[in-house]
Amino acid sequence: MAGRDFVVFVIRRLINAVITLLILLLLMFILVHAIYTTPLALARLYAGPHPTMAQLETIVKEYHLDAPLYVQFINYLMDVFTGNLGYDPIYKEPEAYIIMHYLPITLTFMIPAVILTVLVGTVLGAVAAANRNKWGDYFIRAFYVFTWSSPPYFIALLVLLVLVYWLGPYTHLPASGYVNSLLHRPRVITGWPLIDAIIENNWAYVDSYLVHMVLPILTVFLYSFGVYTRMARNVTLDVLESDYVRLAYIKGLSRRVVVYRVGLRNALIPLVTLMVLTFALSWTGAYVAEDVFDYHGMGYITTVAITSVDPLMVYDITLFVGISVIIANFIADILYGVLDPRVRIT
């Protein structure tokens, strides 16, 4: 039955994701080697600021930077798949270790923001499409055009201004940080501070953490909202003009059923792709939010890496971001199969 079909489908999508990942690694590899053409130049990536010639040469030997390119690439692949992303010259710790400390902090607020964007955006997009050119449509469009054209830092600043400085006494929201730094940090169980704190019943920490998450979530939500809702509206409009929607009307189904149960349900299929796009986009929003709110996550260490000239860190972080998007894509592919029988049943 469809069970076996589905498993085959999942495996095929998985292989596809892995291939994309390999190509991504290849591209990143080519990129680096196209810019840093000699082994010594490459060594600078791994060295700290102001390295001496002797230090550079040691690095070349240690990392086999003078080996033929394909050998380096194989080494690189093996390193990535075993989690070895290099040793950061400035922090003096393995990159992977540093990144795994900051990644959960970003994801903890980014994922709820994306979910919020998708839920609100889908509903509002459908409502706008269903009420085309009436007041609801105009209002929603005005809103998403505004958030779409705003630079994310502007959104962050507005959010800060309104919720903290004007309505501060009512909302008691903190202006920066991801948690009250005076609080005792939970033990590392999962590596995700919020979850660890919940497991430990450290409710003061949880409370502070959640309260600090509000502004960044709002910022990322508002930032991604524009693009997503516009697409949702356009996709729904296109679906609503299709023949089967017309036939559903002609059958005598009520307008609400036609728009939501037939139209929106079908629009979900292309929307799933958009959800992945939104996830990818929200990384950018997260970066900026972390900058403005002094939130110590991936964006934060990226900016630090930029100012302290640590290209290796920036590179590895970007790799992580890329991998996260590939994973999101994979999940979306699976959802696609669930939502669209044409994909999973041949």
Binding site: I19, T20, I23, L24, L26, L27, L31, V32, I35, Y36, N133, V145, F146, W148, S149, S150, P151, P152, Y153, F154, L157, L160, L161, Y165, R230, N234, L237, D238, A280, L281, W283, T284, Y287, V288, D291, V292, T302, T303, A305, I306, T307, P311, V314, Y315, T318, V321, G322, V325, I326, N329
Partner: protein, 310 residues
């Protein structure tokens, strides 16, 4: 209806531009977008010419001929001034007039990156995408895979990486944007080529023995470019926003020259909301420019996509 549209094109470039303007302006938001974009482009051209003259004639004062103040002059006594009649947008930490700095920086903060990046991306994307769509086979497969991989990383983030690798200068940022931006256009051109390839007039041209280069330009490029122009209009806004984000984070700066994103960032680090005008006004400038492109691009996409019946 297609015949009418094709005929209209033949009636002269100026005439068809005007009919597009009318079409766009039927919708008030489209009109607003058009006005903003035209104002932005005109200002950038004028200011750019003044700058060119200034360096040619070795007289930098030409650069700020049209500005209320010399954007570089420092006046420590008048630092941190909130907006007033003298300084409509206030002053920064060394007393420079923010309005002048904003106006001065618009051409290279926004206009040059936008046009350079989008136009390069279109050219590269057209070459790769049309050839992939037209030739098919393994070349197509390779291109699809490569663009897939590129599109896995959000454009801005990838741009950050490349910029860093290229030493984070202004030019480095432009290059990195071009590298990051072309995959979308390659995809768009490929999709359009596939659609157009199935049409009879392409088969006719092939039978007729049209040379590949002529085929490419006269037939494929001309006929695939419409939806891409609409997208590109939106994309100008995207590039401007993206560049400002990179500038905000600290990438792609040019020491000595005011840059919009950087001004906003400085405003935040020196004290927000205490010196709110310093961060807010540059941000609003970017907002308005991007808004213009978004409104215009949205309207164009509706017209070309047939969704603008009324």
């Amino acid at each position: 209806m297609t015949e009418q549209v094709v005929e209209r094109r033949g009636r002269g470039f100026a005439a068809s531009i005007w009919s597009w303007v009318k079409l766009i302006s039927r919708d008030p938001t489209g009109l607003l977008g058009l006005i903003i974009v035209v104002a932005f482009v005109l200002w950038s051209i004028i200011q750019g010419i003044l700058e060119l003259l200034a360096s040619y004639l070795k007289d930098p004062r030409l650069g700020w001929l049209l500005l209320p103040y010399n954007p570089f002059i420092q006046n420590l006594a008048g630092a941190f001034q909130p907006p007033s009649w003298a300084h409509l947008m206030g002053t920064n930490y060394i007393g420079q007039d923010i309005l002048s700095r904003i106006l001065y920086s618009i051409p290279y903060s926004a206009a040059y990156p936008a046009f350079l990046v989008v136009l390069s991306a279109i050219l590269i994307g057209a070459a790769l995408g049309i050839s992939a769509g037209y030739l098919g086979g393994w070349w197509d497969e390779v291109l699809m895979r490569v663009t897939d991989a590129f599109l896995s990383i959000p454009a801005i983030i990838l741009a950050i990486v490349v910029s860093i690798l290229l030493k984070a200068s202004f030019i480095g940022m432009i290059y990195s944007f071009i590298i990051v931006w072309w995959p979308i256009y390659a995809r768009l051109f490929r999709a359009e080529t596939l659609r157009v390839k199935a049409m009879d007039y392409i088969a006719a041209a092939q039978l007729y023995g049209v040379s590949p280069l002529r085929l490419f330009f006269r037939y494929l490029f001309i006929n695939t470019i419409d939806p891409i122009i609409a997208y590109a209009m939106l994309d100008f806004g995207n590039v401007i926003l993206g560049a400002s984000i990179l500038n905000f984070i600290g990438v792609g700066l040019q020491p000595g020259l005011p840059i919009l994103g950087e001004m906003a960032s400085d405003g935040v680090s020196w004290g927000f909301p205490k010196y709110w005008w310093w961060a807010i006004f540059p941000s609003i400038t970017i907002l308005i420019i991007a808004l213009g492109f978004v409104l215009l691009g949205d309207r164009l996409q509706d017209i070309i996509g047939g969704r603008a019946a009324y």
